[in-house]
Symmetry: C2
Amino acid sequence: MATVSRILNDLTGYSEGTRQRVEKVMKDLDYSPNAIARGLANKQTSTIGVLLPSVSSRFAAKLLQGIETASHSLKHSVIVCNTHSNGERTMEYLQVLKEKRIEGLIFISEWLKDEYVEVIKKMGAPVVLVSTMSPKYRFPYVKVDDKQAAYDAVCYLIKKGHRKIGLISGSRYDQIAGLPRIEGYKAALTEYGIPVKEELIAYGDFHFKSGAAGCEELFERDPDLTAFFVTSDEMAIGAISCAYRRGKRIPEDLSIIGFDDTEDAEMTVPPLTTVHQPVEDIGKIAAELLIHKRGFDESVIMPHRIVERETVGTL
Amino acid sequence: MATVSRILNDLTGYSEGTRQRVEKVMKDLDYSPNAIARGLANKQTSTIGVLLPSVSSRFAAKLLQGIETASHSLKHSVIVCNTHSNGERTMEYLQVLKEKRIEGLIFISEWLKDEYVEVIKKMGAPVVLVSTMSPKYRFPYVKVDDKQAAYDAVCYLIKKGHRKIGLISGSRYDQIAGLPRIEGYKAALTEYGIPVKEELIAYGDFHFKSGAAGCEELFERDPDLTAFFVTSDEMAIGAISCAYRRGKRIPEDLSIIGFDDTEDAEMTVPPLTTVHQPVEDIGKIAAELLIHKRGFDESVIMPHRIVERETVGTL
DNA sequence: CTGAAAGCGCTTACAG
DNA sequence: CTGAAAGCGCTTACAG
């Protein structure tokens, strides 16, 4: 029994002869190790949990792809939990993951509530935050510098000669992907001596429809806008649709720069200029951090860059 | 011990008094049941596995969303496995899932190879095929009628007055989403007495670039084409981009009908007319079938329908 | 190098 | 209604 276990786990302490004999018998009996029993005995499950608000956006799907690929290389399985941004569901999932004794948790894009942290701490598993962070709890995170990225995007527009720049943003109450990008937008305008006008900011939810609505809204308020910074590609696509309906040509009449650089960005007409986030790598690195348990304060700020395609014109 | 177990599992056989006492102690000790131990004892893991070629397409992500949501309602967790359409990886995953004693397997969009089935049978867990099927192995499947759906799409085009209809298809060697849709296309043309020309068929891989390339290819071969049936939304978006580069207006100069009706379809300019598959429901139903283990031959053909938006014009 | 023993934390008959 | 016992299939000291 013990010897077989050693052989199975590639340890030392057995002769070549018995190894062969054991392996033959395993073949003959079509033996398959039971990971559950092993898990109970040595308290390892080789599985991690991923909590995300929605799996169906391209951004989330790409993140998951990176996480899953890296985890698999490191011999871990991943359980996905689609919280729908719902606190109760999140708590349920956390409970299940705790009972299933996962060895690590990746928490994506949401605000980390106190009640979550309570369970997480009891769970005892390490956590990595992705595309979010918590000022209160010092869990390691992997994300881009949202404020800087937004700042860069708007500077890019300004350098192309734009002065009347609208912002289509996520919620201003979103401390992570909302507020910081708004701040970056304002900082860039201020830097160039352009007055910040609150009425040139529209608030959406990062999805298509709200992008189109935001665009309508801003044009109602100021038909002379020449450029938009839109804080997600999906909303940017909404803005493109809106521009098209209004008969505005892109980039001749209106310039648009997005955020994320998911596959959507290459698929628009014309192709979308946008701020690139290395989404798949973010997922990979988060999984590696988690599984290697490098401990606290191992946060990593991922590099962003502007990918120039065809939606921004020079004024 | 046994009584506590009964209480935890909501069985009968204990007095109200002891129940309260036990629950109080559980609170005080901050007790958390160990699902691994339970799994070992009663041979249940309450988790299923999902094998899919890629998680990052909108189609796959939506499917996964449906699967995950239904599974969660039925108290099951889902482990995702991203095979990258790679046979070796698939075998690895199958092995891991077997060792982890999953209670069911959802196999998506790929051809079911003999070697997979060998492991699956040993695994002993039920299987449901999604967006695929196997003529050789009678596993239950959930999908639309691909041939009929393609037939309907092309008939729609014909009824709008089109006669010169190109096809941008998946691989002709793809027995599931490739060939049947090609057959549907041919059947519709034949039905209306339109000669089938092989040179009006381009072969892609369901993704954006191959859609654009297919469009270029077909226009080289016949500049007079007035309509395309494109067997995925993503390829249809590629065709839209190609048309735009060639200065063709949609739908005035060129009509396009896609396939899938993922969220992409609403986001194009102009919005894409396409064949709708109830993707999320397909995922939900597959999970429900699997978890309820309704046994063999419980396959379900999901309804498709044409969603009219703005990319098809009348001739 | 090899195997007997205890233990991982539960559940399921079984006896009381 | 309650609890002792065996067992789920492994791993980890420990003794030989």
